[in-house]
Structure formats: C-alpha cells, structure tokens
C-alpha cells in the first residue's frame, strides 16, 4: 500500500514534467499545425539559461524563471520570424525544418558552452520532504507539480479570457476570415510560437536540478512530449493535461509492477493502439477548424 501511494506520487511528478514540456508543444501544434521537433532544444536552452544565470548572476532556479521565459521566448520568436513562418503552407516540412533547427541549436550550445554536463543547484528552501504516514513527497517535486498546474491555468485563461486568446481562436478557426477582420494572423502566430518556446524554457529550468544538463538533453524529451500531445487530442489543453497524467501514472504503475523498460514498452504499445482507435486523441478539441 505504501508503495502504491508513493508510486502514485511518482507518477504525478512524472506527469507534471511531461505536462510542462508538452504544453508549449500542444499550443504551437494546436495553433499552427507545426510539429516543433526543436522543442526539446528549447527545453535545453531553458536549462542552460538557468545555469548561466545561476553561475554569472547568482540567481536561483525560481528567481531565474521569468528571465528564462523571456530569453527562450525571444529565441522562439526569432526562429518563427526567420524560418517557421515561411513554411506554413507545407506543414509536413516543418517537422524536417524544426529538426534541423534543433540540430543547429544543440551544436551551437555544444560549441559555445561545451559538451560537458553542467551543474545547476536546486533551491535550498525547497529541499527536504513532506511525510504523511508512509507517503514521502519531495518538496521540490511538489513545487514542480504545483507550478505545472499554475502554468496550465494561466495558459487556459490566456486562451479563453483575453483578447489575445480570442484572436488566437479566431485564427485557428479560419485564418482568412480573421485577417479580413483586421487580426494579424502572422503576429498571432509569432506570439504563440514565442509563448510555446518560453514554456519549454521554463520546463528546462525546472527539470535541470533533477536531471543532467547537457546539449543533447532535449532529444529524448521531445518524443515523449509529442506523444502526450497526440494522445491528448490536437490543440486541447485539458486533453494534454489528462494525457500527461495518464501516461505518467501508467508508466509509474508499470514500472513498479514489471520494470522501467517493459513499462515504457507497454505505454508505447498503448499509445499506438489509442492513436489507431482514437486518432483525434482522448479529448478532441472543439476549437480546431
């Protein structure tokens, strides 16, 4: 029983990390149909920005978050302007182009900062555990879980309660008509892409105290995040959250019952079946076209 409780928390913790990475991807995909394979590299940039801020400006992980968001969003904005914008008419090519961008970012960091793993200190005030009976929860992981929920809520509000969100949904529904009403679709796309990239940066900042910070750290993450987006249903925020939770918990349960490898295989098989029988995902979005 103790193991089950602890494992449920572990699943939640994995889910929160998946969510925070997948959210940016989901927004970008949902809005412009671009599968951003460079997303993992945005996560990596976030981690490195955190490292740079900690080493050169003495900022902690949490205080660095806004700066990281802005920095990575700026990179995303430039990439959208220079490259992605030219490819909206050929969506499948964006997979290839963003993969190329990913290689370039990764190599640029490797050449600029070095290949070795960088150390980022976790926040001191979040060290330690909360223990409730046999359930042991790391404070930092609780923080990551809460933060991911906060980001989810903020993003949801942004999409549904602001003027930008309204414009965004209009562009998603019908780009041509929205432009007739004076909405600059190009601008909306740029801002959305930048926002998605910024979220990836935050994800990078948050996971770096737990993982190892190297130029290739994003490559493995993007596949998982991508699966979460697809399982959740294209462009659906709540679907993405539910899918992250589902995949996190199922992985956690499988890994305790069998082992981590077989757990992952089982989850992948489940994802394949799910896409086969529900290609629109668990929660198909009602706003998509």
């Amino acid at each position: 029983m103790d193991v089950v409780l602890n494992q449920a928390f572990a699943g939640l913790s994995m889910a929160s990390i998946l969510l925070i990475i997948a959210l940016g991807l989901a927004i970008i995909y949902g809005t412009m149909g671009v599968i951003n394979l460079a997303h993992g590299e945005f996560v990596m940039l976030g981690a490195y920005t955190t490292w740079a801020l900690q080493n050169h400006a003495g900022l902690g992980v949490v205080t660095a978050l806004p700066l990281v968001f802005v920095a990575v969003a700026a990179v995303g904005w430039i990439i959208e302007k220079v490259i992605v914008q030219r490819l909206y008419t050929r969506p499948l090519d964006t997979i290839l182009a963003t993969w190329g961008i990913g290689i370039i970012l990764q190599q640029a960091v490797r050449l600029g900062v070095g290949a070795e793993s960088r150390f980022v200190r976790g926040p001191q005030w979040l060290s330690g555990n909360i223990e409730i009976g046999a359930l042991v929860m790391s404070n930092y992981r609780i923080f990551v879980i809460s933060f991911s929920l906060a980001i989810l809520v903020v993003t949801w509000l942004l999409m549904t309660r602001t003027e930008f969100g309204m414009k965004l949904r209009a562009v998603i529904q019908n780009r041509g008509i929205s432009e007739c009403y004076g909405i600059e679709a190009k601008k909306v796309y740029s801002v959305t892409f930048a926002y998605g990239a910024g979220l990836a940066g935050i994800a990078g900042a948050l996971i770096t105290p737990l993982f190892s910070t190297i130029p290739t750290m994003g490559t493995g993450l993007v596949v998982d995040a991508f699966l979460v987006v697809i399982v959740g249903g294209l462009g659906s925020l709540m679907g993405t959250a539910a899918a992250a939770l589902l995949i996190g918990e199922v992985t956690a349960i499988f890994s305790i019952v069998i082992n981590d490898t077989l757990g992952r295989i089982a989850v992948l098989a489940g994802i394949i079946l799910l896409i086969r029988f529900r290609p629109r995902g668990l929660f198909p979005s009602d706003i998509r076209r």
Partner: protein
C-alpha cells in the same frame, strides 16, 4: 612476416589490379599492414566529440592528446613526432567502425586510442583483429574479452570489487540493492558481485536495469524506500547516474545510512551531480583526482593548465593518458624503421611504469595491473580515499567464470 615482403607482394599485385579488377582483393589484405617509414608516427584518436557519450569521451580525448603533445614537446620517439589523427565517431557504433577503418586502413595508424562504451569497442574490434592493429582501450569494462589486439587500460570486475565488497558488507550491512543501465557491463559486474556476496553471506534484495539515458528515477527511489537495503550498488552510467544521484538527494535519502556505491561514478559525473548531492557516497576506482603522487600532481597541473582550472581528471582519463605513455615506452624498445602494431604489443607486455595512480604493469593478457581504491565523495567534488589495496591487483578478465582464463595466448578453457 617482414614488412618488405608485404610491400613487394603488394606492388606486384597492384599493377595487375588495374588490369583485372577482381584480383584486387589480394592486394588489399596487405594494405593495412604496410606501415611506411615516414617522418612521423601516425596514431589514431577515436573518441566521440559529439553525441551522447561525448561528455566523457571528450575528456579522454583531451587527456590522450595532452600526452601526445607532451611527448612531442619532449622530442618525440626516436626523434620522430607522434602525429595524432583525430576522428569523431559521434557516439554511434556504426560510425566507430567506419572511422576505425579510416584510421587503421587509410591512415595506416600503428595504434588507435579510443572509446568508452563496450558497444563501441566491439564495433571497432572486427577491423582491429583483421588488420592485426592495436586498439588502446582506457575504460573499465566487464572482462570477458581476450583479444590479442586490444590493450585494456581500465579495471575489470575483480579489480573493482575484490577489496570493495568485504569492506561494504562489514561497514554497512549485507543487504545490497543493484541498479544499473541495461547492457552487458552492469550485468557482468553484478554477476561477479553475487559470487563475492555469496562467500560473504550477503544478500541481493533487488536487481534492476533501466534503459540507457533513463532519467526519471522516482519509481526506483520508491522501491529503494520499500526494500530498505544497506547499500545501493550502482553501475549506472553517464546521464542516468547524474539524474539518479540528484533525485536521490532530492528525496533526502541519507548517505550515512544508505550510501550509493558506484563502480562508474568519477569526478566528471560528480561535477555534473554537484558536490552536495554526491557527498558521502562512494566509488571504487584505481584512481582519484585527489591522489597524492608526484606523477598525479604533474598530470593534474598540466591538465588544468591546458583545459582550464575547473576541468577534472578521472580514472578513465588517467588511463587514456598513461596508455599513450605505455605506447611510447613500447615504441622506444623497437627499431624505429620497423614498427608494427603487433610488435608494439609484444614490446609492451610486462612493461611497468609510474602512472598517476601508482606503478602499473601490463599483463601478458594485455590487461593492466592496477591499484584499486575506494573513495568517499566530498562536497568539493573530490574523493577522499578511505580504503586502498595493499598490493597491485592482477586483472582476471574471466574471474566470474571458473575454467576460463585469459592468458598471453588468448582465451584458455579447461
């Protein structure tokens, strides 16, 4: 066979080769062994500078390159410079095989220094053995290999575990939890560990393997909490080890009660883990950066001067470094006009030299006699040696398999 004979044969067939294309193969089998008596001595460096294992391999590359340049600065060997030919196999076994061929066949290197993972060594092995070249492999590994074309500079299981296990059981207890990445090295180390534990009356409470690059250890940590072992016996490598250590720390598991004892964690991983998270845990290795010998002081000083004050040396980069010196010493025993990989090998056997870790010796089975130590990590990222073998330990690559022995004549089964 003498080199001249090869050249004669090759020349004859070479002219025929253009006339009748299909007889060319006869020529080619000679190509790799025709080492021209050039002005310098080509040696290959085959360490990944990019990709997943670049983090470690780049430091091996740096150490080996430094040794080469030190030797060249001191006048080379027999007045000839060593010419380092650098290839980047990009952490991909297929590329290792491809680049090894370039070095051994096209560039006619008399030796190649390279690689960290078992998979990459095995990818390089076919061409090395066919061309009778020599591959200097600096990494600790699982044993169970007895090639006559590989110089093994790292520890094999008996050199890492023989002094470690009795000490662990005595000081922490008999319940061992094994965690490793899913490939041959961790499994073989754990095999050997089980044999030792059997004699010591220890017990394995759980043995598990995670995929290479696995980074979320929440489940593993939960299981550790549930099993309550005395020691975590870790053979995790690279990013997995870093992630595990950081999450172990974030979960507030206490190294005093339940330390992680790693066979693979070195200064370079600790630097990424952070001194705080690594402090209190143990590693077993023949070399630590803090080793107090004149040879090591010089090694560390030169290394830092060259690659920056925050760079670290570790037990694999030390081997990458001393192997170049072993190579040099072997060359010095040979006739400069007449060197070949096999002759270098034969000259190297039985040779001893002072390495940063102490005086080492090359066994006839081409493995190295080393000085095992156990270090406890401190928060400054350095290890404090708390246990040191009283004697140099002989490498026994097949220690877990009675009836098989790696000797100077290759693998002998009885």
């Amino acid at each position: 066979m003498k080199r001249r004979e090869f050249l004669g044969q090759a020349g004859a067939v070479g002219t025929m080769g253009l006339a009748s294309g299909l007889s060319v193969p006869a020529l080619l089998s000679g190509v790799g062994r025709a080492y021209a008596a050039a002005d310098d001595i080509p040696v290959g460096l085959l360490f990944s500078l990019t990709g997943a294992v670049a983090v470690v391999e780049h430091t091996l590359h740096d150490a080996a390159l430094m040794a080469i340049e030190e030797i060249n600065a001191a006048g080379g060997v027999h007045g000839k410079q060593l010419r380092a030919i650098i290839e980047d196999p990009a952490s991909d076994p297929a590329t290792y095989a491809d680049r090894a061929r370039r070095l051994m066949i096209r560039d006619k290197c008399v030796s190649v220094f390279g690689s960290y993972t078992s998979a990459s060594r095995q990818a390089v092995l076919p061409v090395t053995e066919q061309r009778d070249n020599l591959y200097w492999y600096p990494t600790l590994y699982e044993g169970r290999e007895c090639s006559r074309n590989v110089m093994y500079g790292g520890a094999v299981p008996n050199q890492q575990q023989d002094i470690l296990l009795p000490w662990l059981v005595e000081n922490f207890g008999k319940k061992i939890y094994m965690i490793g990445n899913n490939y041959v090295y961790p499994k073989e180390e754990n095999n050997y560990c089980r044999i030792l534990l059997n004699d010591l009356g220890g017990e394995v409470v759980h043995e598990e393997y995670v995929p290479m690059g696995h980074s979320d250890f929440s489940s593993v940590i939960n299981r550790i909490r549930a099993e309550k072992p005395d020691v975590i016996f870790s053979t995790l490598v690279g990013d997995s080890d870093v992630a595990f250590a950081r999450q172990y720390r974030a979960a507030e598991l206490d190294p005093e009660k339940m330390p992680v004892c790693s066979l693979t964690r070195s200064e370079i991983e600790v630097k990424a883990i952070g001194g705080d998270a690594a402090a209190g845990h143990f590693s077993s290795a023949p070399y630590f950066m803090s080793n107090d010998t004149p040879e090591n002081q010089k090694f560390v000083e030169n290394y830092k001067a060259r690659y920056g004050a925050d760079s670290v040396t570790h037990f694999v980069s030390e081997a990458a470094y001393f192997q170049v010196y072993q190579f040099k010493a072997a060359l010095e025993k040979l006739d400069p006009a007449n060197i070949s990989p096999t002759e270098i090998r034969d000259a190297a056997v039985g040779m001893s030299m002072l390495a940063p870790q102490g005086e080492i010796l090359i066994d006839p089975n081409l493995h190295t006699h080393l000085w095992p130590k156990v270090g406890q990590w401190q928060s400054d990222g350095q290890a404090k040696v708390i246990l040191q073998s009283e004697e140099r330990i002989t490498p026994k690559p097949y220690a877990a398999y009675p009836g098989q022995q790696c000797t100077g004549d290759g693998l002998v089964k009885s």
